[in-house]
Amino acid sequence: MSGAPLVEVEDLSLHFPVRQGLVRRQTGTVKAVDGVSFDIASGETLGLVGESGCGKSSTGRAVLRLARPTAGRVRFAGEDLGRLSPASLRSARRHMQMVFQSPFASLNPRLSVGASIREPLDVHALGAAGERDARVAELLSLVGLDPGAARRHPHEFSGGQRQRIGIARALATNPRFVVADEPISALDVSIRAQIVNLMRDLKDRLGLTYLFIAHDLAMVRHMSDRVAVMYLGRIVELASCDELFDRPLHPYTRALLSAVPSPDPDVEEGRIRIVLQGDVPSPADPPSGCRFRTRCPIATARCAQEDPPLRDRGSPGLPHQVACHFS
């Protein structure tokens, strides 16, 4: 974890037009991601948590340029992805891959497992054509599947196995960076740990860098070096894993953590559940000032006027960014 970060995200926004009526006139904008900045060091795992709809997937897609950001910049290994030609971007994709949430939707049902895993090798012409099947077998063993699986089709596999296939495909080109978008939330609870452990193990063996998206805080804690908490298109708190879980500063993070049972009986006894009032406001019409103010237990008049910037409130050597006027 030294040197320049592998991924640098600067003021990234991804807005979607809302169209209505017969002529599909644009009537508004969903600010799915609205000015998000973070770095990920090489070999690091950054966890990204937040409620459904807060913009986690959109962030992941914009970082990988699967969606064109409305504003902001993503640098990968020092290179501004927005300035690459379509062909250079395609070839840069070799180094950054995605693992999807749904193991059912992420594999083409018409392709054999081997063909799916082999495709990135074909796309980037990696290795001699004859060697690619050997590489597929190697990848299948790497994710704990029998190499014979290559000949079969996705529907013959369970959710967990398919997720392994998706991981093998993502790793085929030896990428440096992987965005994992809730890779376990569509899986049976019983096999989630296996997949998370596989991903951790692969990270160590292959020196991967992850953006790990989840809404399960326990999983994020298990996986991540640092954690970013998102609310309505913004990052509201970002700190190292231990720092964030032991000393949450943002009222939203505190509320999220208060809902997680603690393994430590002493802490568990003192745990006070903070229940958030109301619903998440629409990202098409976020509240003025602090976006969390409609649900914040400590909001004041100032919160409606001033949008709190993300500022470092940590101690020297232990950065802890938070966006709240009162913490």
Partner: protein
């Protein structure tokens, strides 16, 4: 998946019978030079307008040609036109629909307006004009029919592509650096294959009908090459007095088109993604 498909298809008895019927008729017509008891243009003025008999199973026409023989050769042309025109129409429709659905925006708008216009053109009058100006050879027949029957496929494929392109596996392909062409050919079109095949099947029946109508109007493939359509036309004057000349080509067209439509319907059901997903 393949097994499941066949099991579901086989449940439709009409479709299985239709398929068998179509295969038998198709094979018989394809083998016409071997199977036919007489040469297709073998004129025999000593036995004109004979009703069906043991030596002429379907009788003879006004030049003494064997109707059974001409049915076999005529079927060859009619079915071939049907199949080839359906291939042309399906290919065009798939390409146009896929391009429109995948790219969206201006391309989609332009292609779909063209499709609307093509739809709105009354087919038969246009066909009549076109075939009047082109020599009614098999190739021009196929192209004309194909060029005028891609619109339904284009619309169906476009709507399929609109939903398939949102699938994660398409995003995964884009994320791995695949080109648009690769994504379309390898991921999108194969997953729209069901409706494409159904359309193609129905297109075969449609093309056979169009060929017959044109031949019936004297604008199709020209004699002496027989097609079921021009045989039907030749027999109009004697429909009442020599019914076998009308009956056999008429029934052949009717049953083949029916069979093809039954097959298409069964394909549609057997390939229904909502039921075959597991």
């Amino acid at each position: 998946m393949r097994e499941l498909f066949w099991r579901r298809f086989a449940r439709r008895r009409a479709a299985v019978l239709s398929l068998a019927f179509f295969v038998v008729i198709g094979a018989a017509c394809a083998l016409a030079p071997v199977l036919a008891p007489f040469p297709f243009d073998g004129i025999d003025l000593d036995s004109v307008k004979q009703p069906p008999s043991l030596s002429h199973w379907m009788g003879t026409d006004d030049l003494g040609r064997d109707v059974f023989t001409r049915m076999l050769f005529g079927g060859r042309v009619s079915i071939l036109i049907g199949l080839l025109a359906a291939v042309v129409g399906t290919f065009l429709g798939t390409a146009i629909g896929a391009a429109a659905g995948y790219h969206g925006g201006v391309i989609d708008n332009v292609l779909m307006r063209i499709t609307d216009v093509a739809y709105a053109i009354p087919t038969l009058p246009l066909l009549i004009i076109l075939s009047a100006y082109s020599r009614a050879a098999l190739v021009s027949m196929v192209l004309i029919i194909g060029l005028l029957s891609w619109m339904t496929t284009a619309r169906v494929v476009r709507s399929q592509v609109l939903s398939i392109k949102e699938m994660d596996y398409v995003e995964a392909a884009r994320g791995m650096g695949a080109t648009d062409l690769r994504i379309l050919v390898r991921h999108i079109v194969p997953n729209a294959l069901g409706p494409i095949l159904v359309g193609a099947t129905l297109g075969v029946g449609n093309a056979i009908m169009i060929e017959s109508s044109l031949s019936f109007l004297g604008l199709g493939v020209q004699p002496p090459t027989p097609t079921w359509g021009n045989m039907l036309m030749d027999s109009q004057a004697t429909m009442v007095t020599k019914p076998w000349l009308t009956l056999f080509p008429g029934l052949a067209i009717l049953f083949v088109v029916l069979a093809v439509n039954f097959i298409g319907d069964a394909l549609r059901d057997a390939l229904d993604p909502s039921a075959s997903s597991r």
